[in-house]
Amino acid sequence: MTAVRAQRGALYAGNTRAVIHRGLLATRSTNYLVVFSGFFEPVFYLLSLGIGFGALVGTVQTSTGAEVSYAAYIAPALLAVSAMNGAVYDSTWNVFFKLNYAKLYQGMLTTSLGPLDVALGEILLALLRGAMYAVGFMVVMQVLGLNLAWTALLALPAVLVIAFGFASVGMAITSYFTTFQQVEWVTFIMLPMFLFSATFYPISVYPHVIQWVIQALPLWHGVELIRGVTTGALSPMLWVHLGYFGVMIAVGIVVATRRLRALFLR
């Protein structure tokens, strides 16, 4: 029993807020132009494809059978992408730099902070960036009249869950990276995932095998989750999507914590 408590004590000091405090203070010196470039990407997609291309398409049927305008069809997908982008940029590029160059975590772990404090704090900061992108995007959606049901309000907690999932896994994966090239690979994988995860058209156009692959990837679950609440088409499948992110969050935190411990407390 004491051994278990000592073990937990070695991992967690209950001081995640100190890590978050540091992160927020450090943003004062960041380049906001770079930060916001990630936000504008899905907005530009929405304007060009949703409004422009959407005029040619007309309406689309969602996976739950509702007929919606093309812009209203892709907007929730892009909202999910927005949350993903913010969380992933922060938990890969920024974490990689802090891990390997700034030696930030190494310094933190010479104090009484535990690896779980550090991992959780950094993941929550990445989540925050994802949430900021997503909230900005939701405002754009509202202005353009693309939130079709009152349940669109539920998109707010939903994007937090999505950002949390991507941030956790992003940090866990980044903790294994040793070169910038490896970080590039994440970007390389994110592009096709962004394009093919029922973002711009239903996945029913693909053969079954491809559909399964897409349904195994996280973004599809995010897209379906958000599309369900913003179009008002709620189904029990939403629980599956939430469960998927629950697993991402848990696995990400556990792996990131273990890695920080293995890297700096061995």
Binding site: A6, A10, A18, H21, R22, A102, T110, T111, S112
Partner: protein, 308 residues
């Protein structure tokens, strides 16, 4: 004798079968200034990391402030101040914020940390740079800020890994002065260095380590007494003649060492030996009698070959 704050017995750390620290024993008393002296790769930093509770030992016993780092890492770390070999200041934060944020890592209340930060900026002679970017500080200033940061939790033991490596003489002297004040205030200092003058300035007691083992232990004066002569006579006859002359003066002093550029005669009385030398008709190009130093001890114990 008061109970020691650090106690290591047969402390060992191996990496892939190679022993970086090979069964060393040492004790550090409260308020003592203890040095680990040794060439690069001797195992100094590895020892420091184990004492800092950020590296687990392979075998042996280690207690810090009466606790085993294996089980009480965070408890121990909350009472240590760590100055790593390379500054790892937070470059995204300004000078004073570095102290504030670091203090919060220890879970200390905001007001207390703010109060200590201002006092430490004074101590580190950085009060006028409180709002500067870390990047704009000189090497010596960064080092002082790192030390100030390590003191934010009012540690019982301050660990310094090569505190003045890479600093110019002025910056080193300022730093020594600050460390000496800490020592006067009763902070236990544990430092590694490969500078002999630093060890002589700061350490009450030191161990010379080489290849993961302790070669000698004692106060600087004690080590010189035990491992070297009182004085050293240095004479130069030209690089082609040194070895030849050495054969002619066998028996002079306690020990003779032939270096490519000079001869060292370890002796109780250097002047007398110099007279004896000239009486034999040998006239060195240059000669120098000096007191034996820690450097002589160090080189005797760890050898003169280049370690890389």
């Amino acid at each position: 004798m008061p109970e020691s704050v650090i106690s290591a017995t047969a402390l060992t750390k191996t990496y892939g079968g190679v022993a970086a620290v090979d069964s060393i024993d040492f004790e550090v008393a409260p308020g003592e200034s203890f040095g680990l002296l040794g060439p690069n790769g001797a195992g100094k930093s590895t020892t420091m990391r184990m004492v800092g509770a950020v590296s687990t030992r392979t075998s042996g016993d280690l207690t810090i402030l009466g606790l085993d780092p294996e089980h009480h890492g965070p408890d121990i770390r909350s009472q240590l101040g760590v100055v790593p070999q390379q500054d790892n200041l937070d470059m995204d934060l300004r000078v004073r914020d570095n102290l504030l944020v670091y203090g919060r890592y220890f879970g200390l209340p905001r007001a207390l940390v703010a109060e200590r930060a201002d006092a430490l900026l004074e101590f580190a002679q950085l009060a006028d740079r409180a709002k500067s970017k870390v990047d704009d500080l000189s090497g010596g200033m960064k080092r002082r800020l790192t030390i100030a940061r390590a003191l934010i939790n009012e540690p019982r033991i301050l660990l310094l890994d090569e505190p003045t490596t890479g600093l110019d003489p002025q910056a080193r002297h300022i730093l020594w002065d600050r460390l000496f004040r800490l020592k006067e205030q009763g902070t236990t200092l544990v430092l590694t260095t490969h500078y002999m003058d630093e060890a002589e300035q700061l350490c009450d007691r030191l161990v010379v380590v080489d290849k993961g083992r302790i070669m000698a232990e004692g106060s600087p004066a004690q080590l010189i007494r035990e491992h070297s002569s009182r004085e050293v006579l240095e004479v130069r006859f030209g690089s082609d003649r040194n070895a030849h002359v050495a054969e002619q003066i066998v028996g002079l002093g306690e020990r003779i060492e032939v270096l490519p550029d000079r001869l060292l005669i370890y002796s109780a009385n250097g002047e007398a030996d110099l007279v004896a030398l000239t009486e034999r008709g040998l006239h060195p190009i240059t000669s120098l009698v000096r007191r034996s130093s820690l450097e002589d001890v160090f080189l005797r114990l760890t050898g003169r070959s280049l370690i890389e």
